[in-house]
């Protein structure tokens, strides 16, 4: 997910739905694009389907690779593996904390870069770009080098630090884009009406960029909760959900306990619910 995910999503959500261009002629190739796209969507979903199915596998041993019958018991025993449950809890709590911190700092950055011209804005932009463009391996490894040199023990808070580090730039870029597209006349009008800078910010600017801020926050959350590479370098002995799943699969050569499938299914189901709600509200809009 990129900064543009946020931009894309909130652009789609906020603009009036555009009518399709009228070109008049019918072409046989018209079905090609939708067919291709639906094929891609199907391809993207296929491992998800497998995951959902194997959440119902009645495995007797430690390996969840052969179908051994249908059962719902994993849905009851969802929290039966304490390490997995605490890993999930860690992931969620880290993501929440990271979202709050990164969104706050990133929003401020985005506002400054999108609205103001100041000396050094170029280098700040370069810093953000370098951060987004740098590969995760390098980001994780260099932060690890810092912690090793300073003798900082790695654990929960080093994960938070690492996640905030790579999330700020995404939030900032999203908010910057939104900010740059804003009409400054509204803020000028507010000032003409006597509003101080803080009031202007709180009552005019912030609401206008809120979709961008929300998109950035969503992005930070998604990046943090699914991060593997940077976390694997800086986690010490603290486990997060992706780390635990990867470790479990490593140990068994590709098999994860059914609880993982169930959790994935529930998360996916939640996402489907959001999509359906979104579609329904879209229909209502027009």
């Amino acid at each position: 997910m990129t900064a543009l995910a946020g931009e894309a999503l909130e652009a789609s959500l906020n603009e009036k739905p555009r009518p399709a261009p009228r070109t008049g002629r019918r072409r046989a190739g018209r079905w090609l694009l939708p067919a291709w796209s639906w094929l891609v969507i199907l391809w993207l979903c296929s491992p998800i389907i497998v995951m959902i199915i194997f959440g119902f596998n009645n495995t007797k041993g430690k390996f969840n690779t052969n179908w051994q019958g249908f059962t719902l018991r994993w849905y009851h025993q969802l929290f039966a593996i304490p390490d997995l449950t605490s890993a999930l809890k860690n992931s969620v709590s880290i993501a929440v904390i990271v979202t709050l911190i990164a969104t706050a700092m990133g929003t401020l950055l985005g506002i400054a870069l999108g609205r103001h011209r100041f000396r050094g804005s170029g280098s700040v932009n370069l810093l953000l770009f370098a951060n987004i463009a740098a590969p995760e391996v390098v980001l994780g490894a260099s932060l690890l080098s810092l912690f090793l040199t300073l003798g900082v023990p790695r654990g929960y808070w080093t994960i938070v630090i690492a996640h905030v580090m790579f999330s700020i730039a995404y939030v900032a870029v999203t908010v910057r884009a939104r900010m740059a597209g804003l009409d400054p006349s509204l803020e000028e009008a507010a000032r003409d009406l006597g509003a101080g800078p803080l009031t202007t910010f709180g009552k005019v600017t912030l609401p206008m960029i809120m979709p961008g801020v929300m998109a950035g926050a969503l992005l930070a959350f998604a990046l943090s909760i699914d991060d593997y590479i940077i976390t694997s370098f800086n986690n010490g002995s603290t486990q997060t959900f992706p780390l635990w799943v990867y470790g479990a699969a490593q140990r068994t050569g590709g098999s994860v306990p059914p609880q993982v499938n169930v959790m994935g299914t529930l998360i996916f189901g939640f996402g489907v619910l959001l999509a359906v709600l979104g579609a329904v509200s879209n229909r209502k809009k027009v």
Binding site: L9, P21, T23, A104, T149
Partner: protein, 289 residues
């Protein structure tokens, strides 16, 4: 008056300060520290000392240039295929999506709600030699009995494409979405065929998006190691795997740091060269598109 002017001038710096500080401390400084570690010598038992031992870099290249080249090749192939897959889908949603645009986009991104480790392990399962897909193919004699996908470059590149497709789709989508449909109507009014309209109007306007897509796909793909670890075999090791092993199994921090720098340096040079070739000097402008 001048006091509020001064305050107004300070405002952007104050806004930028927290985020900038965080990035400097936890991104810039660590990169410099890593540079310093890469020239140290020693081992965990005796401690590492700074000796300006630059030959670690040439050692790293000598030992692992195969993995570097392989990673770049995989990166190029995966990015190219991602573009081919992503562009039509982005076009379809942007131009034919109508009021369902955001739902379709959401649907496309939905699988990525599930942790990518789970998704990649699912592929490991689906593509196994006697799993559902390949055993059917073998039964129908479409492939030989010794055929396998896992542990080949095909599996690794396939995994890379799968996991990084959203990074390609989204920038292209955003760029296409901005194209004013009036432009297409205008070109139709001027008797341009649909292909010409695409080639001469839509495609050029989407180039910033394509550039961003290539950038945001190629860099993480080249540096990835998880796909190679889960889906790969003996001849598919990528440089990310080597760096990870050097850090965690061999505990050879200087070599690992040197390899990371070579990787990052190579990627940055590649990115700027690509930007130049597109005729733009301001990479940031492009990437911000």
């Amino acid at each position: 008056m001048s006091r509020s002017r001064l305050r107004a001038r300070l405002v952007p710096y104050l806004l930028v300060l927290p985020g900038w500080l965080w990035l400097v401390i936890f991104f810039v400084v660590p990169t410099l520290v890593m540079l310093s570690v890469s020239t140290m010598t020693g081992d965990l038992g005796t401690g590492f000392k700074q000796t300006f031992h630059w030959s670690t870099y040439s050692d790293g290249w000598r030992l692992y240039h195969v993995q570097f080249v392989r990673s770049i090749v995989y990166g190029l192939i995966a990015t190219a295929i991602c573009l081919v897959i992503a562009y039509p889908v982005a076009y379809w949603i942007a131009f034919r999506g109508g009021r369902h645009k955001s739902s379709l986009l959401f649907l496309l991104l939905l699988p990525f709600f599930v942790s990518f480790v789970i998704r990649t392990q699912s592929w490991n399962f689906i593509l196994s030699d006697n799993g559902m897909v390949i055993s059917r193919l073998k039964d129908w004699h479409w492939v030989g009995q010794d055929f396998h996908i896992l542990a080949t470059p095909v599996a690794v590149i396939g995994g890379l494409i799968y996991n990084f497709l959203p990074f390609t789709v989204l920038p292209i989508y955003v760029a296409l979405e901005r194209v004013d449909p009036a432009l297409l109507e205008a070109s139709a009014d001027l008797y341009a065929s649909k292909t010409a309209a695409f080639r001469k109007v839509v495609l050029p306007l989407s180039m910033p998006g394509v550039f961003a897509a290539v950038l945001l796909t190629f860099v993480p793909v080249t540096a990835d190691y998880v796909n190679a670890a889960i889906l790969g075999g003996t001849k598919t090791t990528m440089i990310g795997n080597v760096i990870q092993t050097e850090y965690f199994t061999n505990l050879n921090y200087p070599l690992a740091a040197a390899l990371s720098f070579i990787l990052m340096g190579g990627l940055l040079i590649g990115v700027f060269a690509y930007a130049k070739s597109l005729g733009t000097d301001d990479v940031l402008d492009m990437a911000g598109a």
